[in-house]
Symmetry: C2
Subunit: 134 residues, 2 copies
């Protein structure tokens, strides 16, 4: 199997080369093999992993949290119980996020409907509706 250079990985994963090295320093990516001359040698797993990271970021996870998510996999066979609770906590997190997003969406839909009816939007209590669950 052919190895990928950092430039190829960067292109495929749509990130800056520096970002890859940064993720390595932050231990979000494992230290890759090196060629004789010191070039990093990647496989397409790294591309997948980077895409996962970027994607999770867009969902509002910090790199630290993402590291935890990734660690779930790595250490799974080591400490199954703790993996399970971490995963369950994350699931809770995610459910709350989903609920909030759904409320947000609902409110925006209401706003759109208001717009369609050309009424004054002071009837659309966007702020109130978007408030966190009290």
């Amino acid at each position: 199997m052919k190895y990928l250079t950092i430039g190829k990985v960067a292109k495929q994963a749509q990130v800056n080369i520096q970002t890859i090295r940064y993720y390595e320093r932050q231990e979000l990516l494992p230290k890759p093999l090196r060629s004789e001359s010191g070039y990093r040698q990647y496989t397409s797993d790294t591309v997948k992993r980077i895409r996962f990271i970027k994607h999770a970021q867009e969902l509002g996870f910090s790199l630290k949290e993402i590291a935890e998510l990734l660690a779930l996999r790595v250490h799974a066979d080591v400490a199954c119980e703790s993996v399970k609770s971490l995963a369950e906590a994350k699931i809770q997190d995610i459910e709350l996020k989903i609920q909030s997003l759904q409320r947000m969406k609902q409110t925006l839909s209401t706003l759109v409907t208001c717009c369609e009816h050309r009424k004054n939007t002071s009837d659309c209590p966007i702020l109130e509706a978007l408030e966190p669950p009290s």
Copy 2:
């Protein structure tokens, strides 16, 4: 109606006082009334607004995006059509986020099930499953 000082608002909204002033500079909060002596005078609307901001942040919106969301309300009666399209775009955003979170959640649930069955979790393809939609 009694006004709130910045300290009260900070306490009620659970944020740092500096954060409130920072939001004002960033125009996420309107410039408040001032007392004779220059103290900011708020109403509880500001508390709501700050809570909304913090909440939206947790969902992965940047302050800039949040400013747009908030602007929907302010300018609604001014340019209804453009508000509508902005809102619709945000709804799309939100739907995508929800979908991703749901996939993420599904995968984590699978991981939990694996843990429960005490199998080796190399069967749980967390990375693959959590990948962005291709």
